[in-house]
């Protein structure tokens, strides 16, 4: 029964639904802010090679004579090195830009993979109560119970073939490790939604006109799950970007000399060089902050649009 608050006061919310969601999202303040921030980051990632070409500084290229003082200390920001250099005479700006690529390259596929796997598991678990649900939910619980970092460390150790060489590319491994943990949240979310949707009248209506279960899941339930899951994708993405950085910070993520914000910050800290060249820490630190902030803002913006109370 709609009481006055939903029926009348929120009449205008229904208007929102009449517009394409995208336009509503664009109109939302924090989503707009987030989109701008993320746009900047994506652009930076795309233009990293351009920056490298313009400055003539490759991401892993060392300029020991130009960028390091006699005693090996890196120079601060200058006309040629806009954010100064790191302890190996590499351009912090160029490396920060390339770091954006790693963050996106890890964060986006990892989250997407988690979304696909988690949604699939959640759909099946939610739709088939009983043994299937119990088994899949147990699997989700098991995955959730593993401590992330310790397991990640073990998995990195696991990633050695008989000859000690990595079986899969370390970046791919980080993607897999992160999605191995992130899928559980999607699975739980989807399962919860499906359990509710399964008993909604429109599902029964579809059943009564003879829709098959597969068609029901794909055509009736999935379209209702996807928008929520997509919002959660935006919420989970910054978490996963931070997870990559944390793994790299702990030395098990992206390997040197490839630049990742996490391992740049780790390097700045281990070498204490941030005390003489703060931009070595601030460059990747601020970049990461902006990226995560941007995605968080988008996530909550979308949420605001779809769920006005939240």
């Amino acid at each position: 029964m709609s009481d006055l608050l939903t029926a009348e006061a929120y009449a205008e919310e229904a208007d929102v639904r009449r517009f394409p969601v995208l336009r509503a999202i664009l109109a939302e303040r924090s989503a707009r802010t987030g989109l701008i921030l993320v746009g900047v980051v994506v652009l930076a990632a795309l233009l990293a090679p351009v920056a490298a070409a313009l400055t003539g500084h490759g991401p892993d290229q060392q300029f020991r004579s130009e960028a390091l003082a006699e005693n090996g200390l890196p120079i601060g920001p200058s006309a040629h090195f806009l954010l100064g250099a790191d302890g190996n005479g590499r351009d912090v700006l160029v490396r920060t830009l390339y770091g954006a690529r790693i963050s996106l390259l890890v964060g986006i596929p990892a989250t997407t993979l988690a979304l696909v796997a988690g949604t699939a598991v959640g759909l099946v678990a939610g739709f088939f109560p009983g043994r299937t649900d119990r088994l899949l939910s147990l699997g989700t619980d098991v995955a959730l119970s593993f401590p992330f970092v310790v397991t990640a460390l073990s998995l990195v150790a696991l990633n050695r073939g008989g000859d000690g060489e990595p079986v899969v590319d370390p970046v791919l491994l980080v993607v897999l490790v992160i999605s191995l943990f992130a899928w559980t949240y999607f699975a739980r979310l989807t399962r919860g939604l499906v359990v509710v949707l399964r008993n909604r009248p429109f599902v029964e209506a579809a059943l009564s006109i003879g829709v098959s279960r597969r068609r029901l899941i794909v055509r009736e339930i999935l379209p209702n799950v996807l928008p929520v899951v997509a919002v959660y994708w935006a919420v989970q993405l910054p978490v996963n970007i931070l997870a990559e950085a944390t793994l790299s910070f702990l030395g098990v993520g992206v390997q040197a000399p490839t630049a990742s914000w996490g391992n740049m910050i780790a390097e700045a800290q281990r070498s204490s060089l941030y005390q003489v060249q703060p931009w070595f820490l601030l460059g990747p630190g601020i970049a990461m902050f902006v990226t995560v902030l941007g995605f968080n803002a988008i996530g909550s913006g979308i949420r605001n649009v779809l769920d006005p109370q939240g």
Binding site: D60, D163, G164, E165, S272, Q275
Partner: protein
């Protein structure tokens, strides 16, 4: 963690000598002197050296430093890698073990330079006799020296016998065992039998020790220890200066498994300090033994009352922050202080920045074991490829990455500057030590690799070695050598290298520190590289596999010699050109301390601060 693997020579050097020629003379003189002066050597007072060491020792001020106070050490690692004198084989564990154990003979420390600390002084042995053939040493122990901690009985000669018999307990294992296989008659035979005892059960080990003897090691009475070798060795006493030969009370030591926490907490100390409390991951507190017999210990002044090792500083940054803010006085496990810190100390001309030649070096080892069949390993069997590698490395860059002149100097040979037999030369020099990519490319082409070479390069993950790895990767790329970097956690690196199934062509994080200064050439040329002493892959943590009959012959000639210097110099020329590894740079030891530190003293054994001779005072 650093391994400073050490090796052997006997003898002492007079403090002033630096040039190779002089040192050779001195060495031989000392050898003669030693045999002659079988009586007690008058203890050298390290405190008296204060003031001679440049800026660093200004901190000592005038006169004898005040006793008392607490010396606080910030450790980069969360625990000691070893505390059992038998298993401790890193410079950092040696630094702590020095405060807890005593040996037959030792070095008293030096205020000026690590390489000056070469004078052997009597420690628990008040004197010794050497037989005419130089093969038998009879030590006379001091009277009335007691253990502290879990035992307080007097130290007797049998405790040394027991300690040596533990050497090849399969549960413990002395990494430096190669030294002793040459040093004691019948030792190798004893060890072969001991290896058959199953590990994990202390009772079985004890039963074996109780029922077997080593012919070359005996204690005719409580005050006399007789050690006999099959051959004469000029560095026999130096070998005994290492903490491996420290007395242990069997009734205590046999109760505990290996270097376990229980053992560490019930440590029978023979040194000036005993363990007051020990919590891995938090702290280790050493307290001075009440009423310590200073007269009976010429080498350790033991000024401070308490030494606290803080295990809660997990990063280089945290360690130096603690020292700079005065919450700690010294560092442990910090191989090189961060560049920025060195620079800050230099800029303020701080008297608390200490640096010294150390004879330690970094190099690239090569996987030359027969099992290695990767294309890279095959290529490296060719001398021209190794030469290309030697030409391709930019040593100047590496030295800069270490912190410049104060921290390192380029190195092109096996023997470093503080070691007997050193004659400065570089078989593959490049302009400004900056490498010669063109020459490297040309050599590669001549060796059949005109399109360059790809090598699997293992490195240990820490700040220093990661810098070396990425710098080498960048520099070698110019010569067409592509390094595929494989990071390995420090704790697993030696296991990784020693596993025959592991894939690696080169190891970028190889390093050593001399086991003692001066006549310690045995470690490298007579040890790691001598296939008679250390067959392929054994005797060192780097899995070095090198076989050169000419070197073996020279080593065999040097060991019993009274003048081994020229022999070693010849061996160095021979081997350095053959590149069993690629030398990179010789490290200078750089230490920063708080402004409470007085009477700065280097220990040549620990290749860093001598905590048994440093004092503390009020902050300045």
């Amino acid at each position: 963690m650093k391994n400073s693997v050490r090796k052997t020579t006997i003898m002492k050097k007079t403090p002033r000598e630096r040039r190779p020629l002089l040192s050779l003379l001195a060495a031989s003189a000392c050898a003669a002197l030693l045999a002659a002066c079988a009586g007690p050597v008058p203890p050298d007072n390290p405190g008296a050296n204060g003031g001679t060491g440049g800026g660093a020792s200004d901190a000592a001020g005038g006169g004898a430093p005040a006793a008392g106070g607490t010396l606080r050490i910030a450790s980069l690692q969360s625990d000691l890698d070893a505390l059992d004198p038998l298993t401790g084989y890193s410079t950092d564990s040696w630094e702590i073990i020095r405060a807890l154990t005593r040996q037959l003979v030792t070095y008293p420390g030096s205020a000026k330079d690590i390489k000056d600390d070469t004078t052997l002084v009597p420690d628990l042995a008040k004197s010794w006799d050497v037989s005419k053939d130089g093969k038998t040493y009879t030590f006379h122990l001091r009277d009335g020296i007691r253990y502290s901690g879990s035992s307080t009985r007097e130290i007797v000669a049998g405790d040394f016998v027991y300690a040596i018999k533990r050497f090849c307990d399969p549960n413990k294992q002395v990494a430096a065992i190669n030294y002793f296989q040459l040093a004691f008659s019948g030792f190798r035979d004893y060890c072969e039998k001991f290896a058959k005892v199953p590990p994990g059960d202390p009772a079985k080990s004890k039963a074996f020790i109780d029922s077997h003897d080593i012919p070359g090691v005996s204690a005719p009475d409580d005050k006399t220890l007789v050690l006999r070798s099959d051959t004469k060795n000029y560095d026999f006493l130096s070998i005994l200066s290492m903490n491996f030969v420290s007395p242990l009370p069997e009734e205590v030591a046999a109760k505990y498994v290996g270097d376990s926490l229980e053992f560490r907490k019930n440590y029978p100390s023979s040194g000036p300090y005993q363990i007051a409390s020990y919590e891995p991951g938090r702290s280790l507190v050493l307290k001075k033994v009440p009423g310590y017999d200073h007269a009976g210990d010429p080498a350790r002044k033991a000024y401070v009352d308490e030494i606290v090792v803080d295990f809660t500083t997990n990063s280089e940054d945290a360690v130096v922050q603690k020292i700079q803010s005065g919450d700690a006085d010294l560092s442990l496990y910090l191989d090189v202080p961060p560049l920025s810190t060195i620079q800050q100390y230099q800029a303020s001309n701080s008297p608390y920045l200490h640096s010294s030649d150390s004879g330690a070096a970094n190099f690239i080892t090569i996987n030359a074991r027969p099992e290695a069949t990767s294309p890279g390993a095959e290529a490296l069997r060719k001398l021209k490829v190794r030469q290309a590698l030697a030409y391709a490395v930019n040593k100047a860059n590496l030295v800069q990455a270490q912190g410049g002149k104060i921290a390192a100097r380029p190195l092109g040979q096996i023997i470093t500057s503080t070691i007997l037999g050193h004659q400065d030369f570089d078989p593959y020099p490049t302009p400004g030590n900056a490498g010669d990519p063109e020459k490297a490319k040309q050599l590669l082409a001549e060796a059949g690799y005109p399109n360059g070479l790809k090598l699997d390069a293992v490195y240990r993950v820490n700040a220093q070695f990661e810098t070396i790895a990425v710098t080498l990767k960048a520099d070698l790329a110019r010569a067409g050598i592509e390094l595929n970097l494989i990071p390995v956690p420090p704790a697993q690196s030696s296991a990784y290298l020693q596993d025959p199934k592991s894939r690696w062509d080169v190891f970028l994080s190889a390093s050593f520190a001399p086991d003692w200064q001066g006549p310690s050439t045995r470690m490298l040329l007579g040890g790691w590289l001598d296939s008679d002493a250390a067959p392929c892959g054994t005797g060192n943590v780097h899995a070095i596999c090198y076989d050169n009959p000419e070197l073996n012959k020279l080593a065999a000639k040097a060991f019993p010699s009274d003048d081994p210097g020229p022999v070693w110099a010849e061996a160095d020329r021979l081997v350095s050109a053959d590149l069993p590894w690629i030398p990179l740079f010789e490290k200078r030891k750089v230490a920063i301390t708080s402004d409470r530190v007085r009477n700065w003293t280097w220990s040549s054994l620990a290749t860093q601060a001598d905590i048994t001779n440093i004092a503390v005072g009020p902050a300045r």
